[in-house]
Amino acid sequence: MELTLKTDGFDKILSAVLLVLLVVAVAMLLADSPVPGGASNSKVLERTLKTQARLLFIQNTYQPVELLLKENRSQEALLKLEELAVRFPGEAHGLLLKASVLAKLGADAQAASSYAAAVRQNGEYVDQKNPLSRRDEISKLTENGLVKYVPLSKSQPGDVALKQVVRDLYYLKSRLAGGCE
């Protein structure tokens, strides 16, 4: 045992002060946690505002695209997305919608590339519980795509574009599988 057991008045005073300070510090710490099991109100508010701002941006920006998609005007939706991509190049939700349209049109290879680009920017699209989650449609495309493109790529080893498609599909599979990011 390293700590000496011999104590004098000085030790006792310091120990008492230490205990009091410890109790006060822990009490103050506990008092500073208004949200059970979470961050403070300000942080929750900050995060909520950020999420809502993003949702509002998506709603305002991509509403014309969503309307066209509802009317099954996929080609026009793609053109509108191209137009928006000029204003917001590489924006994740635009890439996701583009992937979704391409998948509907049967262009799985391009859809995989676009989904992968979207997920690289925003992992929320493959999260289980998230308002932006598109996990099911990404999962479906990935499963079907791997069945289709892996044997194709093996039969054409020199095809660089095919290799990239398979790489994108495996990336999506990896993200869907979870794990540390």
Partner: protein, 349 residues
């Protein structure tokens, strides 16, 4: 002398709990991953801004507290340290750089392999070669200065810090951040993860079991070392648990928390193995040693926390998309620093 039974028990417990923690909610193949836990903990403390990696992992504190309990009960707790402190901090950073590029510490590497991620083989080969390089460095006279006993109970600082972090975990004050989604949001309930971690910390302190140490002993003594039994027990139970829980998905690509840049996985784990042997243990072993009063290991732990913040803040950490340029440069600088350290600490007389 460590009992063979205790080492096997520690290895088996680590293999089973490593998989079960995933079943209970930790990220896939990351039931136990010191580097991942360090990164989420650094995020929770506001040391980096990746909102998807913020969670004060109670497992980290549990490992240290379990080791402290074991050391105190076994009368092995001893404040000691003073061996090249700056080197220890830098080594902690390098360990995390290597792990972040591979995506996982040596324990997670084995858990990834046990779950059928054959991409982990590149890391295993890298780790073995790194450990071998560490042994060769020792054989050529490379040794850090001897640690000395420290008066004043400095060895208690890390265990007290672990308890303090646990208080923060339960109190959740304003400055502690928690991910709403992503890897940081995937967590086993603390009622399961904390006791499991304390148990593993306890067993690992008793047995001295760790992955890198097992490899080192196996390279030195072959299968006669007790660590061989622990290593085999870990591998067998982890594979068994993965199969039984439906988590065995063999393949090279599309694995959770993994990438296909095998050269960099190899180099990342080579760096980890080499550094780990020179400083006396992998990231997990450093936590256990910090819990038994080793302030040198405590400094490595501080370095690991700093490294965890840096790899996220500077974009060093690899993702499923691959290894970023910063990660590759980080590995090269890590190897440069290690070779420089080996040259500097070599006893030539």
């Amino acid at each position: 002398m460590v009992g063979k039974g205790m080492v096997i028990a520690a290895g088996a417990a680590m293999g089973i709990l490593g998989v079960l923690l995933t079943v209970w909610g930790n990220p896939e193949n990351s039931g136990i991953c010191i580097s991942c836990f360090m990164e989420t903990t650094a995020g929770a403390l506001g040391l980096h801004a990746n909102e998807r990696l913020q969670y004060l992992r109670p497992e980290l504190m549990g490992f240290v507290i379990g080791a402290t309990c074991s050391a105190l009960l076994g009368k092995e707790f001893k404040s000691r340290g003073g061996s090249a402190p700056m080197v220890r901090i830098l080594s902690g950073i390098l360990l995390i750089v290597g792990c972040a590029v591979f995506i996982g510490c040596p324990i997670k590497m084995m858990l990834r392999f046990a779950a059928g991620d054959f991409g982990a083989i590149a890391g295993i080969v890298g780790l073995v070669i790194g450990v071998w390089l560490g042994i060769r460095s020792y054989a050529h006279g490379v040794e850090l200065p001897k640690a000395a006993s420290e008066l004043g109970g400095s060895g208690y600082i890390m265990p007290v810090a672990a308890v303090g972090l646990l208080v923060l975990f339960f109190a959740m004050p304003a400055f502690i951040l928690v991910s709403a989604s992503g890897g940081g949001a995937a967590a086993a309930p603390w009622i399961l993860s904390l006791p499991a971690a304390i148990f593993l910390g306890y067993l690992s302190q008793r047995s001295r079991f760790c992955i890198t140490g097992s490899l080192r002993d196996m390279l030195l003594m072959g299968v006669k070392t007790p660590m061989f039994g622990g290593f085999v027990a870990f591998a067998v139970t982890a594979i068994g648990a993965a199969v039984l829980t439906g988590r065995y998905h063999p393949g090279f690509a599309g694995q959770p928390g993994a990438h296909g840049e095998h050269l960099w996985s190899f180099l990342g784990m080579l760096l980890v193995g080499w550094v780990a042997v020179l400083i006396g243990g992998c990231p997990f072993r450093q936590l256990v040693k910090a819990g038994e009063g080793d302030t040198d290991a405590g400094l490595v732990t501080v370095g690991m926390l700093l490294g965890a913040a840096l790899v996220q803040a500077w974009g060093v950490a690899a993702t499923a998309a691959g290894v970023p340029l910063a990660g590759k440069i980080g590995i090269l600088f890590g190897l440069i620093a290690t070779i420089a350290g080996v040259l500097a600490y070599r006893q030539r007389s």
